[in-house]
Symmetry: C2
Subunit: 426 residues, 2 copies
């Protein structure tokens, strides 16, 4: 059951490896990769779950803690504009999603933000009772919808389509209040046609909420060009804001007046520091705030946005497609004969920045890969999932990962009991 090591693979002088290195040499984003701090002995293909750390983060957080908290103390809420971080960071995030300043807020968690926007949308369509989503949407999105129906919208029902856009479009009709979908599937990476679904939803008189968790930072998206109503997502994946970084929400400018946030914490008040006991919502997107923002979690996002402001999404997307295509090609070549099935779209235009392969023994195979220094993740029931963060993933990483996967399948080392023990977070 002896496999090889990443180091052995790295010095192998294999033609494929040398070719990958050549591509890294030509990569316009290679200098951007140097702005991230990644351990040298890893191939990290899980930036779609927790993005790598921008190298300046320790320094920036240290500064926020020692100068902001320790020295500035309460004064830093004013002096460092901590109080308006949800809006200032929202304004900086907006261009990545084709939104305008004033349409995006960085706040709370994706689940909370979905609840807020779902409630806002349902109240804007009071005579309609159906919420359209996808059976295999990210569980939290479905859970939030289920909870909202159970507790607050008992007349409503959730109707679920399948992975194809057609199966969703079929469900949209005169009873549809809201269509809420994740644009890029967390399972397969399939990209939905946001523009088409949004248009059909609007034609039927419904509103849309898009979850961009697996889109933003890896796939270009233009919410206003697609006439999207609401969007939500997290910042700890391709946006590299660190573990549990704050989430965001988008409300199209045309809805800011009518859309109402039901979670009316004081930070959503028109003038929170008047300490007015009667709630009066802010007239701008601040109305979608709730409680006090967790400042430390915003600092890392600032560092990541500094990097995104140096690049353009088309360059990112181009590299993303090349990385994922190379991975599909190499795995299918190196692992030929093993029962791995490509679970992602073969056409890179239809694929986000991840590649999933199904394998009945996906769980122990992924554990073995991780133990050998190639970090992807497993998604039940059988998906080996690999994320390619174009800002810092190298073509060499792609080659190393595919080679290691082949070695692990060949050696059958994944059958070792060490790799079959379940873990809490997968």
């Amino acid at each position: 059951m002896k496999t090889t090591s990443l180091e052995t693979l790295s010095i192998s002088q294999s033609p494929g490896l040398l070719d990958a290195r050549k591509q890294d040499g030509l990569d316009p984003l290679s200098s951007i990769g140097d702005l991230f701090d990644l351990p040298p002995d890893l191939v990290y293909l899980d930036g779609n779950s927790l993005g790598a750390m921008p190298a300046v983060v320790p320094e920036k957080i240290q500064e926020a803690v020692t100068e902001g908290w320790r020295t500035g103390l309460i004064r830093s809420w004013n002096d460092r504009d901590w109080h308006i971080l949800p809006l200032t960071l929202g304004n900086r995030l907006a261009p990545l999603m084709g939104a305008n300043a004033g349409e995006v807020l960085v706040v709370d968690s994706t689940s909370i933000n979905l609840f807020k926007t779902l409630s806002a949308a349902l109240e804007m369509r009071p005579d309609r009772t159906e919420i359209v989503s996808e059976r295999d949407n990210f569980p939290s999105d479905l859970h939030i919808i289920q909870g909202a129906i159970t507790h607050f919208y008992p007349q409503h029902k959730l109707v679920e389509g399948k992975e194809s856009d057609e199966s969703i479009l079929e469900l949209i009709g005169p009873s549809t209040a809201v269509v809420t979908l994740t644009q890029v599937s967390y399972r397969t990476g399939l990209i939905r046609d946001m523009e088409r679904i949004t248009k059909e939803a609007h034609r039927a008189g419904a509103l849309v909420i898009w979850d961009l968790a697996h889109t933003l930072g890896a796939v270009p998206v233009d919410l206003n060009a697609a006439d999207v109503d609401f969007a939500v997502g997290c910042t700890y994946k391709y946006l590299n804001a660190g573990p549990g970084g704050p989430a965001y929400l988008f409300v199209a400018d045309r809805h800011i007046t009518d859309a109402v946030n039901p979670l009316t914490g004081w930070q959503a008040h028109a003038d929170p520091f008047s300490f007015d006991t009667h709630f009066k919502p802010a007239s701008n997107i601040d109305k979608f705030r709730c409680g006090t923002p967790g400042v430390l979690s915003y600092i890392a996002l600032e560092s990541s946005l500094d990097i995104f402001e140096m690049v353009d999404m088309e360059t990112i997307r181009k590299k993303s497609k090349r990385l994922t295509t190379l991975f599909v090609d190499l795995v299918e070549s190196f692992c030929n004969g093993y029962p791995l099935q490509l679970a992602s779209p073969r056409d890179s235009n239809q694929r986000g920045s991840q590649v999933s392969f199904s394998h009945t023994d996906g769980w122990p195979i992924m554990q073995a890969l991780i133990a050998h220094g190639v970090i992807g993740d497993f998604r039940a029931p059988d998906l080996l999932r690999f994320g390619f963060a174009p800002l810092y993933t190298r073509y060499e990483d792609v080659w190393l990962a595919a080679s290691m996967l082949a070695h692990i399948l060949e050696s059958e080392c994944w059958k070792d009991p060490a790799y079959t023990t379940p873990k809490l977070v997968t």
Copy 2:
């Protein structure tokens, strides 16, 4: 308009100052104060708004960032038990509120947690329609109740008592579903009789939710002895968890099965990493989780809890009463003749760890105080508010603050236009 400086006051050899220093020398908590890092040139009396930084925080956060995020990457959710931080920190916070392990969760914001527990409580009393609170409760608490009624409980109404416990008790009756109050007033520091109000609420068949934002870490509280049903609060005041640190909620063990969280994000699922698309709540307090926790904001709380675990609440309370009493005495002596009115209870047993004085020109007076190195805060319409965090506030600070307030009133320097400009966060 010349006032004095903190430094001049510090070297004044005034008998009152020397006496305060003597008390510091005898203070059993004086060595605990050394565990906090405060700027030397300040008298910080706003720990009830943003607590001071435990000295180890920079090192701990640095470690979490570089070893946890940068090196461990996604693996740290398991290897560092990040995923269960809401429960493990809840279990460590529990003894400070007389709760058992499994009854407290550190998660989301106070406002979100109030929404969750309010909804849970209202569903447990389906035939009752009144929510009892206080007219001068912290605005966010009232806003959350108002929003919940407007959007989800249109049959319910909010009935508001005044500051006295009697005015609350009068409102409790057969229609009362929930009584929700802040135990220690953010304005005056008045402590409500939690045991009595809870007992009367229960006698009437209602449930209670206590907001402990201005209690925990400064005033001993025993939720289970008082038979409390639910509680919420924040960690960034006396609990020193840093700007916007995560909030907490308490659910009495007897309600864990029946109480239902309506914000059903995936982290509330019985088995989140099964990626089950049908929501099934956890059977323990994890059912009150929602989205992914912001890890960095939890790290500082860990450092603060390390300190709380070295002291006992009775020692803290004893010092708290002495600090606030000394401040009342000194201000009333030094500022005799100026129109300052004590707005807090005169009896230290009825007072939390803060002292408020009203003054028509409270706003510019507080700005002048801050400019002279004494940091308290202002609460509309006319309160000068001073918080005394017993873990690190010294008797000398009390003397310096009272002396500086007297000098500022005497010099009338607060009339300088520099002190009349409003700021965002007060």
